[in-house]
């Protein structure tokens, strides 16, 4: 047992070393891979970019590369100027014909496109890079990668250094917390059926970095969770993402008014917090704001409430 685990540790260490080598030897970009494992080949800086995910669009704007953005999705609403860009479809429903007609030299896809859109475009010879980081560090790396693909390394370096500084400001405080100082936290994404953010999600990483313990850590990805399991795990903090353009909020109403939820410490102590869904669902630079807000929810005495 211990032998096997030490061996796997050695493998992991070896893999880490190899990874570092690959990243530092920037002379041969053929060794880079995107979040879906596609090898990224070298090419001249991208000039005509299509973004197939709202987060990717936000990254392009944050890098100041919006003039090269020739196509976005109907859900790309931030920054507001992105709404005026030509649309190539919804999130999962991409109009391939339209995308092809725009003659992009870079398509920034997401996980949802892995099975259909990405291979289809790749087969036609388009350069598709898939961004779907599951950690805050992964988001920062993907911003750097996007900068490199567009020949905007300097802009990317400035942005990532700033983001890293904000991340460090949170983690220097939370990393010293003992496990009993980390409130049991739950992020609920939908109420019928009850669905939560489990492990292997960006949200799980944000929760941990913000100094909390995700009570849904046995669940993989975004999945349903038993009401019974939630109540017996007794969350101390519940975070409810909201959609800004929705008038009613059935999810918030369920969490705060359902009599069964009133047994949880979070509801009893009034520690149910709203967070803007677009901040915490997207692997955009704004997820650092989500991290700062989450930290202030979990540890109001350690962090002041950050502005939007």
């Amino acid at each position: 047992m211990s032998n096997a685990s030490s061996r796997s540790f050695i493998y992991a260490a070896l893999a880490a070393v190899l990874c570092v080598c690959a990243c530092t030897s920037s002379g041969s970009p053929a060794e880079f891979r995107d979040d879906s494992g596609n090898i990224i080949t070298s090419a001249p800086p991208a000039e005509r970019i299509i973004s197939l995910a709202p987060a990717n669009t936000e990254i392009i704007y944050a890098l100041g590369l919006q003039d090269r953005l020739i196509g976005v999705t109907e859900f790309c609403n931030y920054p507001p100027a992105a709404k005026d860009k030509p649309k190539v479809g919804g999130f999962s429903t991409v109009d391939i014909e339209k995308a092809v007609a725009l003659k992009p030299d870079l398509v920034l896809a997401a996980e949802i496109h892995n099975k259909s859109v990405t291979p289809q475009l790749q087969k036609m010879g388009f350069r598709v890079v898939s961004l779907h980081p599951k950690t805050v560090q992964g988001v920062i790396q993907d911003i750097a990668l996007t900068g490199r693909l567009c020949g905007a390394d300097a802009a990317a370096a400035t942005l990532t250094a700033d983001l890293q500084k904000r991340v460090d400001a949170v983690t220097t405080i939370t990393s010293g917390l003992a496990s009993d100082q980390r409130p049991r936290t739950l992020l609920v994404i939908w109420n019928d059926p009850l669905m939560v953010a489990g492990k292997s999600t960006l949200i799980d990483d944000i929760m941990r970095m913000a100094g909390g313990t995700n009570i849904a850590s046995q669940i993989n990805g975004f999945a349903s969770m038993n009401l019974e399991s939630i109540i017996s795990a007794d969350p101390q903090v519940i975070i409810v993402p909201t959609s800004m353009d929705e008038k009613g909020d059935p999810l918030w109403d369920f969490i705060t008014t359902d009599p069964r939820m009133s047994n949880t410490s979070a509801v009893k102590n009034g520690r149910v917090y709203k967070i803007e869904g677009d901040l915490i669902y997207r692997h955009s630079p704004r997820c650092i704001t989500a991290l700062e807000q989450t930290a202030s929810f979990l540890h109001p005495n350690l962090f002041s409430k950050p502005g939007q």
């Binding site: 859900f75 919804g90 999130f91 999962s92 429903t93 939908w190 019928d192 059926p193 009850l194 669905m195 489990g198 849904a216 046995q218 669940i219 975004f222 999945a223 349903s224 969770m225 038993n226 009401l227 019974e228 399991s229 939630i230 109540i231 017996s232 795990a233 007794d234 959609s243 929705e246 008038k247 009613g248 909020d249 059935p250 359902d258 009599p259 069964r260 047994n263």
Partner: protein
């Protein structure tokens, strides 16, 4: 001559006696299954605590405070309404399925063939699409409307003159069902945001069960099932031949209409709170037919008890197998239901119709 008659009568009495015994046995099994389901869950609670909480809640609510609030909530407000809802839904789907099969005299008839499920599903999905200002409580009402409207459409299409031929009814049902299902699929495709809820809903789940939903659903199911149980004798006669049934003094068209409305009411009430759960309406009545015979006076109540027990067990599996996450119960009913059905078919290859 007299002795022959006497033996006939004895045989009849023996059959009735056997039927009563079977029903009592099935009722006992159902109570046992219900109790088992309340004890099963992702949280381990000692069996005697569960019994004590149930006893206290039923007979002396003030004594229940002696147990932890969390246990009380889990047993009384989460598990019990869920088990009751699964039981009523299973009973409703099985009885409605048996009634549809008898009315259409077609072993394939179930809520799906008559467009009821598709209509209910479309109503519910349309409810999801409406602006968020519309209360969630309206979704089941829309499901109900969808079911009633689709069955009315099928009925008026299939009606030729004063009769309602079985073939046109089933063909009309399939066509209307396919049409409604395609609209539902379209609505699902154009909605990127709420797709999770809809997919889960279409596969069926009891994860939303609470006392409010139980209280709303029970009157509909109770009324529908009661009417269907009263139709057992006409259903028996209708199995002969529609002309013979008329000659025996049964108003066949009116009886069909009563059964159709009652079965649709029952199905829609069941579907609208827990989604489209398949297989119960076709598996349970067939299993009962194979084990207890085709007499509707026994078939309907046995389907009621069997359907309830089956769906309670399926839902218990759905919420415990992968706890703390859940599987849509419709997947469980299909996984358990289909092989069981095949086994029964293999055991009794002779015609039961």
């Amino acid at each position: 001559m007299e002795t022959a008659l006497k033996t006939e009568l004895d045989l009849y009495r023996a059959r009735a006696q056997r039927g009563r015994l079977l029903l009592m046995l099935a009722a006992l099994v159902l109570v046992g299954v219900g109790l088992l389901a309340v004890t099963a869950g992702s949280t381990a609670i000692p069996f005697q605590d569960i019994l004590a909480i149930l006893q206290a809640r039923i007979f002396a609510p003030e004594r229940a405070d002696a147990y932890s609030a969390i246990y009380n909530t889990i047993i009384w407000d989460i598990r019990l309404p869920r088990v009751i809802m699964a039981g009523f839904t299973g009973a409703a789907l099985a009885v409605a399925g048996a009634a549809y099969q008898g009315m259409f005299r077609n072993p394939l008839a179930d809520p799906y063939l008559t467009g009821v499920s598709q209509g209910a599903a479309l109503g519910a999905v349309a409810g999801f699409m409406l602006p968020a200002a519309v209360p969630a409580a309206l979704v089941p009402v829309l499901a109900f409307l969808g079911a009633i409207l689709s069955v009315a459409a099928v009925y008026s299409i299939a009606r030729t003159g004063r009769t309602l031929p079985v073939t046109t009814l089933i063909l009309g049902g399939v066509a209307v069902g396919a049409f409604l299902a395609s609209i539902t699929s379209y609505l699902i495709i154009i909605s990127d945001e709420k797709v999770h809820g809809i997919v889960f809903w279409l596969l069926g789940t009891f994860s939303l069960a609470d006392w409010w939903r139980v209280a709303v659903m029970i009157p509909y199911i109770f009324a529908g099932v009661t009417v269907l149980l009263l139709m057992a004798r006409p259903l028996n006669v209708m199995q002969l031949d529609e002309e013979q049934a008329e000659q025996l003094g049964i108003n066949v068209e009116r009886t069909k209409l009563i059964i159709l409305v009652a079965a649709t009411l029952t199905t829609a009430a069941a579907v609208c709170f827990c989604g489209a759960i398949g297989f119960v309406g076709i598996i349970i009545p067939h299993a009962v037919r194979m084990t207890c015979g085709p007499d509707y006076r026994l078939l309907l109540p046995m389907s009621l008890l069997g359907g309830a027990a089956f769906l309670i067990l399926a839902d218990t599996a759905a919420r415990t197998i992968m706890a703390p996450t859940e599987i849509p119960v419709g997947i469980i009913t299909a996984i358990i239901g289909a092989p069981f059905f095949l086994y029964l078919l293999h055991q009794k290859k002779k015609a039961v119709f």
